[in-house]
């Protein structure tokens, strides 16, 4: 049969084939090449992570000015010389030689189609998939890696360390329990042969259900943020069924501190089917968003203290005096938590809290602590750490270690009721501090009561007698001049009088304002740098002692640290709840190179 004579028949066959193509799907190789990593991983995959552009991440990690500074630090260079790393360098050198490529372009090319990690519950293994735009490269890499492993093992007297296996036309290498193979454009590395085989089967057109077949995964994957550098997915439900984190997921934490900080999050986590993570990065910032899907009734009544009875408890708008280093504002109804203790904690912990209630009541002039004092304090609070600007009028001893000032700011729904008891408690505390201080040779704190335009200020400062020599390098306690300030509905408990004064003015200006987030944490890089720089001598001394460095080495290390911190502009954490999700966002901002 010639083409010329039978062209009609050939044309018909081609037409039929074209028509049938969508029904039978693409050819094996075409179909496999299009498969995503999630389609190659089995449905029993419990953790999945992807980095779409590893080359960009690598560039950020290695080329960013911050990274360059780290790489230039003596500690980093010393770390690179660690004897434990020597075998790794040997492997890298050998791989470069075998591949005739430097490691970085090699890695970039090998992963330019993405880098993926999966953890499979069925095989109890993990798998790493790297996709390359060069179809030959994974195969060359796998062969070279096997050669290098074989040589290294032979040098240690083991001639049979690498086993070559053929599986459905795919060459795989087994080294101890690990397996690596080139599967089309993919480099597959796994610590379990079964898992590597499952990936290969999926690539070769196997019909076993994949991770991507799960509706839940696909829905979660579709929510991946645009431009995310990385994305991860964790099947919480499966982990819970396996008993992972049993204590954290228990109904009662029996740790009031953890309950206060994380109780609401754990409630959502306890019911969430999965968790996702979006990683966003550019030259000046890195953000991670952890998202939990919410379900109805996931917050039990006893934990209403966390997000508020309607779930809309927003943190107070942060007060940000000059030099604010750290700011933590949150909505937590401590009174509600305290009074729900029998439902939140076991009998022992609840009994301890009940005892604490009695003790603290004594401290507050006999008023019931949980029933009267805490409700008057209110659910919105702020913790600040502030590197105060230098005080030009400072006369007292200058402490050797300069501790930033700190304050608690509370918004009271009933300031008239709580104010007298707070003052009594403050005076009692100062009296205790003086008795303790006298026995330890510390000077006396002297109380002062002042009426200011912004409110009442009670403070205590170390007594400096006339004729006392100005003292440099004084003891650490000279950092403190504790103060209690009441400005409208705001109660301020500060470690220094100056900070209390500063906050009183700010509190009056933004009274009652809240933010959308339930919890908000901010860290300011410049203020952190100032706080560290103020203690440079102390840091150098500690470095000399702890590292055994010479003064010159210690100075270099601390200067390097200060330069690094200087590059960090800010960091923040937001915990925000909506009807559908609970999201925890963490971000770090780095100064642009020009700044």
């Amino acid at each position: 049969m010639t083409l010329a004579r039978n062209w009609k028949k050939w044309l018909m066959l081609l037409l039929i084939a074209t028509m049938l193509m969508p029904l039978v799907g693409p050819t094996r190789s075409a179909r496999a090449a299009e498969k995503t990593a999630a389609q190659l991983m089995p449905e029993t995959t419990v953790f999945y992570a992807e980095i779409a552009h590893p080359d960009r991440v690598l560039a950020t990690l290695l080329d960013h000015p911050l990274s360059k500074k780290i790489q230039a630090s003596p500690e980093y260079r010393q770390g690179l010389k660690a004897p434990q790393l020597a075998p790794l360098y040997g492997v890298v050198d050998a791989m470069e030689l075998k591949m005739d490529m430097k490691w970085r372009p090699m890695l970039q090319k090998l992963t330019d189609g993405g880098l993926y990690v999966g953890v499979d519950i069925a095989s109890k293994g993990g798998v790493l998939l790297a996709k390359s735009s060069d179809p030959e490269l994974p195969g060359r890499f796998a062969d070279a890696l096997a050669d290098v492993a074989r040589q290294t093992a032979a040098e240690h007297g083991n001639d049979n360390a690498v086993e070559r296996r053929d599986y459905k036309g795919i060459v795989a290498y087994k080294i101890n329990k690990g397996v690596h193979a080139a599967v089309g454009p993919w480099l597959v590395i796994s610590n379990q042969g079964d898992l590597a085989r499952a990936v290969a089967d999926a690539y070769l057109g196997g019909q076993a259900p994949s991770l991507d077949d799960e509706t839940e995964f696909r829905a979660a994957r579709s929510g991946r943020r645009d431009g995310a550098a990385g994305w991860a997915y964790l099947k919480m439900r499966t982990l819970r069924e396996m008993g992972v984190g049993r204590e954290a997921f228990a109904n009662r934490l029996n740790n009031p501190g953890v309950e206060f900080l994380l109780g609401g999050v754990l409630s959502v986590l306890r019911r969430a089917d999965f968790v996702t993570l979006d990683l966003l990065a550019d030259d000046t910032s890195l953000r991670a968003a952890i998202n939990l899907p919410r379900s109805e009734g996931d917050i039990p009544k006893a934990r209403a203290f966390y997000f508020g009875p309607e779930g809309e408890g927003g943190a107070p708008k942060p007060l940000r005096p000059e030099g604010t280093l750290l700011n933590l504002t949150m909505y937590r109804d401590l009174a509600a938590m305290w009074n729900a203790a029998p439902d939140l904690f076991d009998e022992d912990t609840a009994a301890k809290l009940a005892k604490a209630d009695t003790d603290l009541s004594n401290f507050f002039g006999g008023r019931p602590f949980g029933a009267e004092i805490l409700p008057a304090i209110g659910p919105r609070s702020q913790l600040l750490v502030v590197q105060m600007p230098a005080d030009p009028d400072a006369k007292g001893p200058a402490p050797q270690i300069k501790i930033p000032a700190a304050a608690f700011v509370l918004q009271s729904p009933n300031p008239e009721k709580i104010t007298p008891f707070m003052k009594v408690a403050f005076q009692t505390l100062i009296a205790f501090a003086n008795i303790d201080g006298a026995s330890k040779g510390r000077p006396t704190l002297m109380l002062t009561n002042e009426k200011r335009e912004a409110g009442d200020l009670v403070s205590a400062e170390y007594l400096v007698m006339p004729g006392d020599k100005p003292m440099a390098n004084a003891e650490v306690y000279y950092n403190f001049s504790p103060a209690l300030a009441i400005s409208g509905d705001t109660i301020i408990i500060a470690s220094t009088k100056r900070l209390a004064e500063s906050l009183m003015t700010l509190a009056k200006a933004q009274a009652g304002q809240t933010v959308k987030s339930n919890t908000l944490l901010e860290i300011n890089g410049a203020a952190t740098h100032q706080a560290l720089a103020a203690n440079r001598e102390q840091l150098i001394a500690q470095n000399m002692i702890k590292e055994g460095h010479t003064r010159e080495q210690a100075e270099a290390a601390i200067n390097g640290l200060l330069q690094l911190v200087e590059l960090i502009k800010a960091a923040d954490v937001h915990l925000t709840r909506t009807d559908k999700t609970l999201s925890l966002e963490l971000g770090v901002q780095i100064k642009p190179v020009s700044e």
Binding site: Q400, N473, V476, A541, Q542, I545, K546, G548, T550
Partner: protein, 469 residues
């Protein structure tokens, strides 16, 4: 030299050491000198010392440690290195004081011992700390302990009388021995007792009544707001009679009279001889007397006596080499200096504390008992572990990069050389030949160079000789 100390001729014993065929000036003797006078030294320093000769080495040790001249605040030869190091240490101590934790001062003092270019001064200061033992456990204030330590250091090689006078006014010492409650109507005898029994005379050279009378002389010597204060209202101005003298004496008078006793110079001379020559047997009076005479004839100045001891024929003899048990501090600091290494000083402080000697925290006013008491089943294991930390642990950082690199720096490549090198550095007496063979076998064993040397060092740490100085 006779094997029995009582048969030694004092003049011959304290005569300057002259190397000869029986007692050559070599690495082992140079290491002995540095171990006793300077905690230890690395191989480069030892080889340079062998080239320079003992007299030059001893001169250099003293030059770095003594004041540069009359009234000079600066120590040493006036070189920038010593002055710069002193400034750095002032800054370091000041920073450590800021923590308010006296244990931080212990760590900073260990740092100083490891890194000082004037190690003799620190070694003698450690001696006086043992002598005028004052503990931060009771004093508690870092500032007072730092001032106390500075006082010990500033007088360490100077005249003894002003030293005792300064100690008697030292707030840390006054708090430690309860002088803050030494009142006219009820004199506290603690300080008076110790100034005679432990600091100046020794038991048997005073009576209980002398103690009562001397306590009266010190009444009113108090501490207010961390400073020495003379409270004239609490001072007993009546006559006191002690040690054959009567008068309205105060504390300074008491010290002068006490130090005028013949027993005083012998007590101090014996203390110095025990610190630098041997723990046991006790040196006979005939050997102590020439040193006591030297003290007495030279205004009780300490440096010349220490120099005479370190330069002596006795010091370089078998009566001294390996005849002391290394204290935990001299062991830990000595190892670091010998291997040109450093470490986390807080951890070193914790290690020597476990072994029974945390600087600034002596167990009692008598100081540390020393000698054989350093060794028991528990501390013996701890001492071996210290050697293990150098060999196989990760906390010690060698300036050359690693133990193997340190050895290579000194041209040590063969297993037998490595064993000799380590023994030269840290062991004063040769172990038996079969033990040495075993060490060479370990140094020739499997693993890389660091592992082999580490295991060898660990094995050396288990030898009885390792604990000697």
């Amino acid at each position: 030299m006779p094997t029995d100390l009582t048969e030694l001729d004092p003049q011959q014993a304290w005569a300057p050491y002259t190397p000869d065929a029986q007692r050559p000036w070599n690495i082992r003797r140079a290491a002995h000198l540095y171990r006793r006078a300077a905690f230890g030294a690395d191989y480069a320093t030892l080889t340079a010392a062998v080239d320079a000769g003992p007299a030059t080495v001893i001169d250099a040790l003293f030059t770095a440690s003594e004041p540069a001249g009359d009234g000079a605040n600066q120590r040493g030869d006036g070189s920038d290195a010593v002055a710069a190091f002193d400034r750095q240490m002032e800054s370091l101590s000041s920073a450590m004081m800021g923590t308010g934790d006296p244990r931080a001062l212990s760590a900073s003092w260990l740092y100083r011992m490891v890194n000082t270019p004037a190690p003799l001064l620190e070694r003698v200061t450690l001696c006086w700390h043992d002598h005028f033992a004052t503990s931060a456990a009771k004093v508690t204030k870092s500032r007072l302990m730092l001032d106390h330590l500075d006082l010990l250091r500033s007088h360490a090689l100077g005249a003894f009388e002003p030293f005792v006078q300064a100690i008697s006014r030292d707030p840390a010492m006054l708090i430690w021995l309860d002088s803050t409650v030494n009142r006219r109507v009820s004199p506290n005898e603690n300080y008076a007792r110790e100034v005679m029994e432990l600091f100046c005379l020794g038991v048997g050279h005073y009576t209980e009544d002398d103690i009562k009378q001397v306590a009266r002389a010190f009444t009113g010597w108090e501490v207010h707001r961390d400073r020495f204060t003379f409270n004239k209202f609490q001072h007993d101005t009546r006559d006191k009679t002690f040690l054959g003298h009567t008068g309205d004496y105060d504390g300074d008078d008491a010290i002068r009279i006490i130090l005028a006793q013949p027993a005083a110079s012998r007590h101090i001379a014996r203390k110095l001889a025990r610190a630098f020559v041997c723990d046991e047997p006790e040196l006979p009076d005939t050997l102590i007397q020439p040193l006591a005479d030297q003290l007495r004839d030279n205004g009780f100045v300490i440096a010349p006596v220490v120099r005479r001891i370190l330069s002596s024929s006795l010091f370089f003899s078998e009566h001294a080499i390996g005849r002391k048990v290394r204290s935990p501090v001299t062991l830990g600091v000595g190892m670091l200096r010998a291997f040109d290494a450093t470490t986390n000083m807080n951890q070193l402080a914790a290690a020597v504390d476990t072994l029974g000697q945390l600087p600034l925290f002596p167990p009692s006013v008598k100081g540390w008992d020393g000698g054989r008491t350093w060794i028991n089943s528990s501390t013996l294991l701890g001492r071996a572990n210290l050697a293990r930390a150098f060999g196989l642990g990760g906390q010690v950082k060698f300036n050359a990069g690693s133990l193997a690199a340190t050895a290579a720096k000194h041209g040590v490549t063969k297993p037998a050389d490595a064993v000799n090198w380590m023994l030269d550095l840290i062991v004063p007496l040769d172990p038996p030949a079969d033990v040495r063979d075993q060490l060479v076998a370990i140094a020739s064993g499997p693993g890389d160079e660091n592992q082999r040397l580490g295991k060898t060092l660990q094995a050396i740490g288990t030898l009885p000789e390792f604990n000697l100085a």
